[in-house]
């Protein structure tokens, strides 16, 4: 389980580490759904390049592909992720962020007070 988590995270960050792919995600998000052709036209790139990027995004689980005839339509997977899970993550992010701040505060409170140089 722990190994799977690391792989998944690696794939996610690899997918997001490319600007073109991030732009594609943004476009899909704006429009709700895009075909591979639409994305290629939008970014003025070759169909093959776009397809490669989409495959990386799909393997990272960031987009879902549905085939309609000759068209491959892409939607953003976060919309289909468990809402409860995303909510839990927000809850945890809140606490982790708070506890980071607590860590800093505790360091500060334990600084010896005295004349500064």
């Amino acid at each position: 389980m722990a190994v799977r988590y690391a792989d998944q995270l690696d794939r996610t960050f690899h997918a997001l580490g490319d600007r073109s792919r991030r732009q594609m995600l943004s476009a899909i998000r704006r429009k709700g759904a895009c075909s591979a052709g639409q994305l290629a036209a939008l970014f003025d790139s070759a169909q093959q390049t776009t397809s490669k990027h989409l495959k990386v995004l799909e393997e990272a689980g960031l987009v879902a592909r549905s085939v309609e005839g000759r068209h491959h339509i892409f939607t953003l997977r976060p919309d289909r992720m468990s809402q409860a899970q995303v909510w839990l993550e927000h809850h945890l992010q809140f606490w982790r962020g708070s506890l980071d701040q607590l860590d800093n505060l505790l360091d500060e409170l334990q600084q010896p007070k005295g004349p500064r140089k």
Binding site: D7, L9, T12, L62, Q85, L88, L92, Q93, W95
Partner: protein, 166 residues
């Protein structure tokens, strides 16, 4: 009670338990760390059984309210409280965005001395929860093991940033 899903968060701090306890129970200190990147205003903090902590967090011109009722106070070892989202009048409300998320979470935090520092353990359990709320919390717990976790939040936040930058 024993069958309720529970989430456990543990953390170590390089500070003695009594100091950590103070940061949780003194308003001037609590306001400084509770709520990442938000302005925290503590309207009331009465750390006794039955006492209330009424908390407001301001972000981007909006306020979020939280009502916490202490159940057990065992200085400096243990705090047990019921934490809930609230409206501006401090009535407990469900989150409009996630109505099945447990409105009230039983929150237990313990501070154990460890190697000169403190081992803190936080446990959340749905309280007085409906079957839907319990199912929602349990679904969230179960999906944690499937490896999406923080990656998803990173993505959600990244996409928000992209949206803002457009």
């Amino acid at each position: 009670m024993t069958d309720l899903p529970a989430y456990v968060l543990e953390r170590e701090f390089a500070a003695p338990p009594l100091l950590v306890w103070r940061t949780w129970t003194e308003p001037a200190l609590l306001a400084r760390w509770y709520g990442p990147n938000v302005e925290t205003i503590i309207h009331r903090l009465d750390v006794t059984p039955g006492g209330l902590w009424l908390n407001e967090m301001k972000m981007r011109g909006q306020s979020a309210f939280q009502r916490t009722e202490f159940l057990e106070v065992d200085r400096p070892r243990r705090l047990v409280a019921l934490m809930a989202s609230a409206d501006a009048q401090w009535n407990i409300v469900a989150s409009p965005m996630m109505p099945d998320w447990p409105r009230i979470l039983l929150t237990e935090v313990t501070f154990q001395p460890k190697n000169g520092g403190t081992h803190m353990r936080l446990v959340w359990t749905p309280h007085d929860a409906s079957p839907a709320e319990i199912a929602c919390f349990k679904a969230a717990m179960d999906s944690m093991g499937k490896g999406w976790g923080s990656g998803m939040v990173v993505l959600a936040e990244l996409l928000e940033e992209l949206k803002r930058a457009e």
